[in-house]
Amino acid sequence: MAIKRLFIANRGEIALRIVRAAQALNIETVVAVSDADRDTAAARQADRAVVLGPAAAAKSYLDPRLIVHAAKESGCDGLHPGYGFLSERAILPRLCAEHGIAFVGPEPDVIDTLGDKLRARAMARAAGVPLVPGSDCVASAADARREGDRIGYPVLLKASAGGGGRGMVIANNGDEAEAGFHRASAEAVAAFGDGTLFMERFVPEARHVEVQLMGDGKGQVLHFGERDCSVQRRYQKLIEEAPCAAMSDDLRAQLHQSAVALAASVNYRNAGTAEFLFDVQRQEFYFIEVNARIQVEHPVSEMISGFDLVQEQIRIAGGAGLSVAQQDVVLSGHAIECRINAEDASRDFLPSPGRVTRWEPPQGEGIRLDSHMSAGAMIPPFYDSMVGKLIVHAATRADAIARLSAAIDDFVVEGVPTTLDLHRAIIAHPDFVANRIHTRWLEQVFLPGFGKKAA
């Protein structure tokens, strides 16, 4: 049954985004807030705001019982978890089901399976999705050489009991594999009391690509193209693009097919993202994991498809089927998003909460801003420091970069430092312009130079 009143268990820009999507569907909205978020854009825009608890997330946004109670008692028949917080915790959809509330997301059992790395990998293997080439247990130095030759160098020797980089050695050839076996095994014994090793292909300059999926829960799954999120700092994405311009059309078709097959194999319901490592030299991709939620960077897929993913999420949770067929999903042009954080890039990205005194975002064709900010708005220190996402769409990647650069120039923010200057510098860098980047490019190549210039 279609949802009539939707509870939004999140904050910031995504809470506002969900409120607007629901209102476009003529659905009433109730937003959950913490004590620190009483006066936010989402709370004002919604039909009602309910104060869960104090500012601390553990006592507000991370308490599933308070959330489901508030949803039920405020008369909601649907609940959208947004991203982060409890969005991928099976307890939330389980409690929703117990209390007759439609959860906007996958089944709790699917969330559990996808959250377990080993089970998710097994699921991918069963669906025929490529995984990073690797070995079973390696018993001797000679084994290590033989497996290394088979997998292809460079390879990573890893402690089977390991974690945190200990008992981990990179080998670039057979000799290094033999020597590395002795070293990694000794390290593993010292660290974990277990010298068992396995090997995996090491991709030194990988890109991060991911496929936007939407399933009806009955085996039918659509994709909305891929995104390239290779500009990362400490595994946090800073800039996302769609499509991945470094990928051939052939490989792109295979990537989409793999992602759809994976999601269809578990009758995936609602929005999800299959993440892959993309080895550009070899033109191969390997499965990483599935994110069982709407993602921060979903707008780039919306921009190239012209399709509102959040509205579709809400419709599907209300029991509707997919509103389009795959052949109706037409992808065009190029979109880029940058995440704007209230951080001081010159002080090691120190989060800088405070009051925004001036907020004048750019406007114009092909420019979209997803933000809950305005002049006078407060950025509380209790949560992540993202103040918005600036997204542009243009015919080509080069046009999109030019449009984004102009949009950043037109963006005036005062009161708190933001990462807008950082984004301006990244997209002007010759490596970014030529699309010669990888997931460690920002930290290894860009930031050392940026730090010097800033100092």
Partner: protein, 143 residues
């Protein structure tokens, strides 16, 4: 206004000094009474709080009309919840006594009186979904 002259800061400083005095002594408890302030500090296992012992006795003895002269204290919801029930207006309660019940899903939670006094007003009705920090009822301290 300098921070040193702020009366609240001064009070905290004074209490800290008293606490230090107690902790560096061999005493079990410390009871200080001045013109307008009374404070009782005790180690774990120290004597009962004489200030608490007096309050319920006077509240119980005083007629409600006389008690309705002290300051009001709001009893607030500790988190979002549904108010199940509350003691009626006019009830004389002692600190720590149950004054209301709230519920989250199927779990009930007791709300206790923070002070001794008389319930003078309800700000929420039974069955109502109350926000974190919303006032459930008000207690007026015994004079």
């Amino acid at each position: 206004m300098s921070l040193e002259k702020d009366p609240a800061i001064q009070a905290i400083t004074d209490v800290r000094a008293l606490l230090d005095t107690l902790l560096s002594s061999g005493w079990q408890e410390l009871h200080v009474v001045s013109d307008d302030t009374e404070i009782f500090l005790a180690r774990k296992g120290g004597g009962p709080n004489p200030m608490r012992a007096i309050a319920p006795a006077s509240a119980a003895a005083a007629p409600a009309a006389l008690a309705a002269a002290g300051p009001e204290t709001a009893v607030k919801a500790p988190h979002v919840a549904t108010l199940v029930d509350a003691l009626p207006v006019g009830t004389v309660v002692t600190a720590g006594q149950k004054v209301a019940t709230v519920r989250v899903l199927d779990e009930s939670e007791t709300i206790e009186a923070p002070i001794s006094g008389t319930i003078i007003r309800h700000d929420a009705a039974a069955g109502e979904l109350v926000d974190y920090g919303a006032t459930l009822l008000n207690i007026q301290a015994a004079a």
